[in-house]
């Protein structure tokens, strides 16, 4: 199926049928855009309108209130610079790791690749409490960074590292190392090779990852509240307070519009920098491009990366695991056993197996939805593989799908409450909202990972195959699937991880009780006492292990013949 369309495109095009091609693209773009329209644009629009046009009369006084308030200007300025700083810092520290995963073979590589997504799924408050044990007052590091912007930046790198490493690493590994080798043989210095050969080839995936990191940092909420102290506030925090705390919907609407405008401007800028695309190069599978570390600089690359990860992730996560085994009566599984103790049959009790089951079920639905819609969107964006020029339509589709990442969860959530309140879409208290919200967040990841994969398919490959007599299905199976398959596995991993860890959008929506693991963790952490704290740590540890297992399984689901990660 997937391959048949591009093939037909090629046929049409040879007869001057570009028009047909754009019809197909429009058709493919419809489901993801319709999904976005119903579950994102409409609720956001409705809540903005409720704020700015209460009782049918426009009230725009909030605009001048917000723009004349120096505190709000400070908030906007801080949000902008902390997110840019976080993005730059994250890319700088993650690129060496991407290089390591792309180029070198070492023991434990696959496990580490899966484990990278662990920080991505853990609830903010759990990580923050662990981090306070390291960089807080009386923490292991001996220096109190609590309340400083450093704590925020470190936490942002902590949560977003995997986004850059996995996105860039996947692209980097497919670049033929002979390109770099020949440059080196011709006498280019290593930095020259990187700047002239490698960077142009990876830069579009760096831009793709960086824009996601930027949006996550731009809409940072929990980290800023917990680790940033009182003086650091982001636009997201302000929007949450104005909406959920004070119900000042007019001010919240103005802030949300400001957020939207900044996000769109930044996305367009990122889109521009992605446009100057690299040439098509023949892709290599990872097993061909990776090699054992032989030179001292290669060994140094591995050692320094592992050391960095050990410090950034190993210490806080290690502390979390240690605390899950450190019971008042000594080391043991006491907290894990306590997870199954229903405290006399409380309704707030979540059997751990149920929490795991609910989390997996929602994540599975969200992943399937995000992959289906993401494939449509990616195909619409790429269009005919031979069409190298990036049309305006593609750019706008891509940008539109990214916008939800840069929008406040509370804006969308409260929007849901006021639009989905009548049949046929009385969804606001439906369990479907959870996977739908997760799929909206996961969609940009899927698209960003699939587009480069689809783009890299040289249309001549398909043409050659069909000329040699392959049926469209055969072309799809032997050409498209192996190449898109690896991107699909990576995309599924991110989609699953997004859903496993998501807490924001659905946490404050009324819904029939079907607690996921993050919700079980928050419930335990909301009560005092060693056993409640210990259970939160134990459940977090189970979530970490589950993440590694799921990611390993997904990474194994690769099409045969492609040994990609």
């Amino acid at each position: 199926m997937v391959g048949a369309l591009p093939l037909m495109d090629a046929a049409f095009k040879s007869r001057g049928g570009t028009h047909r091609s754009s019809v197909w693209r429009l058709l493919a773009a419809t489901p993801p855009l319709a999904f976005l329209g119903v579950f994102f644009v409409w609720p956001v629009f409705a809540i903005l309108l409720r704020g700015l046009r209460p009782n049918g009369v426009w009230n725009l006084a909030a605009f001048s209130d917000v723009f004349s308030d120096p505190a709000m200007r400070r908030v906007l300025w801080f949000t902008l610079w902390e997110s840019i700083a976080s993005t730059v810092l994250c890319v700088i520290v993650a690129l060496p790791a991407a290089a390591m995963f792309a180029r070198l073979r070492f023991r434990g590589k696959r496990l580490l690749w899966s484990a990278l997504l662990v920080p991505f799924v853990l609830p903010t408050v759990v990580v923050a409490v662990s981090m306070l044990g390291v960089i807080g007052g009386g923490g292991l590091a001996g220096v109190n960074l609590n309340g400083t912007v450093w704590a925020i930046l470190i936490a942002h790198v902590f949560f977003n590292y995997a986004v850059v490493v996995r996105t860039v690493g996947a692209t980097w590994s497919t670049i033929d190392p002979r390109l770099e080798e020949s440059a080196r043989i011709l006498g280019a210095a290593p930095w020259r090779v990187f700047a002239d050969i490698t960077w142009p080839l990876i830069r579009s995936s760096v831009a793709a990852a960086a824009s996601i990191v930027f949006l996550f940092s731009f809409t940072s909420f929990g980290i800023v509240l917990i680790l940033g102290g009182l003086s650091h506030r982001t636009l997201e925090v302000e929007i949450y307070d104005q909406t959920a705390k004070f119900l000042h919907l007019d001010i919240a609407a103005v802030l949300a519009i400001v957020q939207l405008v900044v996000v769109v401007v930044i996305l367009i800028w990122f889109g521009r920098s992605q446009r100057r695309r690299s040439v098509l190069v023949n892709q290599r599978s990872a097993s061909e491009t990776e090699q054992s570390a032989v030179t001292s600089s290669q060994r140094w690359l591995i050692r320094s990366n592992i050391l960095f990860m050990a410090v950034l992730f190993g210490i806080p996560l290690g502390l979390l695991v240690v605390r899950s085994f450190s019971t008042p009566s000594g080391w043991g599984f006491g907290f894990y056993q306590a997870l199954t103790d229903s405290r006399g049959g409380s309704t707030s009790f979540v059997p751990p197996i149920d929490a795991v089951g609910n989390s997996l079920l929602f994540a599975l639905i969200a992943t399937v939805v995000a992959l289906a819609l993401g494939l449509c969107a990616a195909w619409a964006i790429v269009g005919n593989g031979s069409d190298v020029s990036n049309s305006r339509f593609s750019r706008w589709t891509d940008t539109a799908l990214m916008i939800p990442l840069g929008t406040s969860a509370v804006t969308v959530g409260f929007g849901f409450l006021i639009v989905f309140d009548e049949p046929p879409l009385n969804l606001r208290s439906s369990l479907w909202l959870i996977p739908i919200a997760h799929a909206i967040v996961a969609l940009p990841f899927v698209v960003r990972l699939l587009v480069p994969g689809l783009r890299s398919i040289d249309p001549r490959l398909r043409e050659a195959a069909s000329i040699l007599g392959a049926s469209p299905r055969r072309v799809w199976w032997t050409i498209d699937v192996p190449i898109v398959g690896r991107a699909l596995a990576a995309a599924a991993g991110f989609a699953f991880a997004v859903s496993l860890g998501e807490f924001g959008a659905t946490a404050f929506l009324a819904r029939p009780d079907r607690p996921t693991m993050p919700i079980a963790i928050y419930r335990a952490l909301g009560r005092p006492g060693d056993y409640n704290f210990g259970q939160a740590m134990a459940m977090s540890t189970i979530l970490m292990v589950l993440t590694i297992v799921v990611m390993t399984v997904i990474d194994r689901f690769r099409p045969a013949g492609v040994s990609e990660f």
């Binding site: 997937v2 306070l132 003086s231 449509c376 969804l427 009324a510 952490l525 060693d530």
Partner: protein
């Protein structure tokens, strides 16, 4: 690919259709008494009751089963964030609510609940058993269900180790020996944080002073000078910054609840004087939690039955063990650890709820100007 896209589209529509079930006739007619000879009514046809709660709501399953068996009503609990977010979400959907009953708004939210015409009137027959001091709403919309106290907790071990006197009053917290020892929650983001700020207003006065020199604000200036730490939430304060009991931080004083100390006791033979944490009772601020029938509820009679059930003896006795709060019905027995390790708060601070509703946002703004 095309088929995939069509399937996805169909799925989205299906998802919409699936959620569209169940909207019965809504009536705002006044709900009359539902008890039959003092007992819960039995509904002939099965009814589903949706109860909007905050995330901390809990009841023993067997107690809930009793209600379901007696009334033929199936209860669907809908946790939806903290009390403030829950209440504001309900206000946003006033008249066309997601549930029939709302539980868990406190007196600091009571003003906005009434102002926004969120509830419909129902006078529970069992209200007569409730200590009248908790019945704040004379209009008969909001029914008190439980109460607790927000108080400063101390780390007994740390104070014994440093041989410092444990403070007993608000003034004690600003002494130089308490430098960098107290952690509180931000009143704009946290319910106990708001209660503690209101406690300082109730105790020190100056609530009608809009200047930066209001008496209670001067007290906060002293706290600030004494290195008070302000964090976003109870979780961060208690587990991240507090040193006592299960806390992992380095500060021996924290704003928490009067009922927190029993949770830190593993061995119930422990003497009260040697339990890991304790409460400074002079700092306690009263918190009462209310429930009410939402205006536009699909099943107001079932909601009324649940209100009566919440004031019944089994639910009231269940409240301390499940939610760490006290029952409002006089004479309800308390669990042993609760009675033993929870400080008796004889004269908690409080403010009239109408004052809080009228001034809360300004107080928070004044407080924020000092701390941001």
């Amino acid at each position: 690919m095309k088929r995939l896209c069509v399937v996805a589209l169909a799925f989205a529509v299906l998802a919409g259709a699936c959620g569209s079930s169940g909207s019965s006739t809504k009536s705002d007619a006044k709900v009359g008494p539902v008890l039959v000879n003092g007992a819960l009514p039995h509904f002939d046809t099965p009814v589903t009751l949706r109860v909007l709660t905050h995330d901390s709501f809990a009841v023993t399953q067997s107690v809930l089963d009793e209600f379901e068996a007696a009334t033929n009503v199936r209860v669907e609990l809908m946790p939806s964030g903290d009390a403030v977010a829950m209440t504001n979400a309900a206000i946003l959907t006033a008249g066309n609510p997601v549930a029939d009953l709302i539980f868990g708004f406190d007196e600091n939210l009571l003003g906005s609940v009434l102002e926004n015409n969120l509830l419909q009137e129902y006078a529970p027959q069992r209200l007569s058993a409730v200590d009248p001091s908790y019945v704040l709403d004379s209009s008969g919309m909001a029914t008190p269900i439980d109460h607790g106290d927000v108080c400063v907790n101390f780390d007994r071990v740390a104070f014994a180790k440093s041989a410092t006197q444990i403070p007993t009053t608000f003034d004690g917290l600003t002494e130089s020996s308490m430098m960098k020892k107290l952690v509180v929650e931000d009143p704009s983001t946290s319910t106990p944080g708001l209660a503690f700020m209101l406690a300082t207003i109730a105790k020190l006065g100056g609530g009608d002073d809009t200047s930066a020199n209001a008496k209670w604000l001067s007290y906060w200036k002293q706290l600030k000078g004494n290195g008070v730490s302000v964090v976003d939430s109870w979780e961060t304060a208690y587990y991240g910054s507090f040193s006592g009991g299960s806390g992992k931080g380095d500060r021996p004083l924290v704003v928490s609840y009067a009922s927190s100390p029993p949770a830190e006791v593993q061995d119930t033979s422990l003497a009260v004087e040697s339990s890991p944490t304790g409460v400074i009772t002079d700092t306690c601020y009263r918190q009462t939690e209310f429930a009410g029938i939402l205006r536009g509820a699909a099943n107001p009679r079932a909601a009324a039955a649940f209100l009566e059930f919440m004031l019944g003896s089994s639910f009231q006795a269940d409240v301390p063990g499940q939610m760490y709060v006290y029952p409002v019905v006089t004479g309800t027995p308390l669990p042993d650890t609760f009675a033993k390790y929870t400080a008796a708060v004889s004269n908690p601070l409080s403010l009239p709820f109408a004052d809080v509703a009228a001034n809360r946002d300004r107080w928070i703004a004044q407080w924020s100007a000092l701390f941001r």
